[in-house]
Amino acid sequence: MMYWFLKRQLRDMGRQAKARPEFVDALRSTLAMKGYVPTRFSLRGWFLRHLVGFGSALAMMAVGTTGAYAYVSEAVLPDHPLYPVREAIERLEEHAPIPVARVKAKLRANVAQRRVREIQTLLKRHRPLKPKHVKFLKNHPAMQATLAPLLDATTTRTTLIESARSTKKFDLYIERNPERGTLNVERKKEKAEERVRRMQERMERRREKRMKKDLSRQKQTPRRSIQKTIPR
């Protein structure tokens, strides 16, 4: 500590000994009268000298802005590319060595509130819940009660099934609600079959088109290689 303090004190003293900028300029002009050629200011040189600084400043700004956006924005939901950033920040927040219990509790409460908001938005938009959210609801029965009206009013079957599947409870759900499960599975099967049929049709059409084109080309012009081989 003392070592660092001494060095700092010496450097502070050294700072007092810095030449005044007016003196430096005056001496430069005195030297110029004797034939001294002052260095021209080069923007390129200056930029190159500060390139590393600029680069790191820009990178830090980009990282900071992205992190802040990911953390604050309500639009960052589990399917957003920045969601892992938010998760990382929350993890840091959770594991931060904060000695004051009150502050830590407040941070945790904030995270819980954010999670509830996420669940609300996901349910409103009929998007499937992630395992994390289902786990959260399971761990916080009080929150389940808060979200119950929303769950009843807006949750579609797909949302529930997707959520259950994502938490590896799909089979259990099908067992409990066989009708819903089979209905959904059948519909999905139909959709997939329709998609395959459409694709096959498209491929067939393309193939026909290509064959027609080839035939017309053969009729119009004979092949070059054949033309060349014909003796005159």
């Binding site: 070592y3 001494l6 007092q16 000994a17 005044r20 003196f23 001496l27 030297l31 001294y36």
Partner: protein, 162 residues
């Protein structure tokens, strides 16, 4: 060397030479500025004779040191060569007047109590702002050796101050 290349030299060393002179004239800014100007004019005149193989720091430092010795010899014509060698242009009173801060005075006195080389190293490194690589050229030692030496010198100062 061509005189057009002197600008690089000037921009790089003006602050350090000023600091070097400043502490040798007891913190008298006006005198330090006059002497710095004279040193740079001298260096500029002699720049055509400068040999890059010799080392730029050593060359400029030698000019600055010789100039200070000459000034001291002019002011004190009766002084012996040894006195002139370790010259300080300002008297102890002047130093005390300019560096009025007690801590600074105490620190400077402690630095003076070190061996000559250590004191020079600490002064040049921490007060005047020379880098270890430049000092290596000047002291004729490796920069990591100087780093260790500076650390030990600071340790000595700490022990003396405690």
């Amino acid at each position: 060397m061509e005189k057009s290349q002197f600008s690089w030299f000037y921009e790089r060393y003006v602050q350090r030479i000023h600091a070097f002179v400043y502490f040798r004239v007891g913190g008298n800014r006006a005198v330090a500025e006059d002497l710095t100007q004279e040193i740079f004019l001298k260096a500029f005149e002699a720049f055509e004779r400068y040999d890059p193989a010799r080392g730029e720091v050593a060359w400029l430092y030698t000019i600055a040191r010789n100039h200070l010795i000459n000034q001291h010899a002019k002011m004190h014509p009766d002084a012996s060569l040894e006195e002139v060698e370790g010259s300080r242009l300002a008297s102890a009173d002047a130093r005390e007047r300019v560096m009025s801060d007690d801590d600074c005075q105490r620190l400077l006195k402690t630095i003076d109590a070190l061996t000559e080389e250590d004191a020079r190293l600490v002064r040049m490194k921490y007060l005047e702002g020379w880098s270890f690589d430049e000092l290596a050229e000047l002291f004729g030692k490796r920069s990591d050796c100087l780093r260790v030496q500076a650390r030990r010198a600071i340790k000595k100062i700490r022990d003396m101050l405690l």
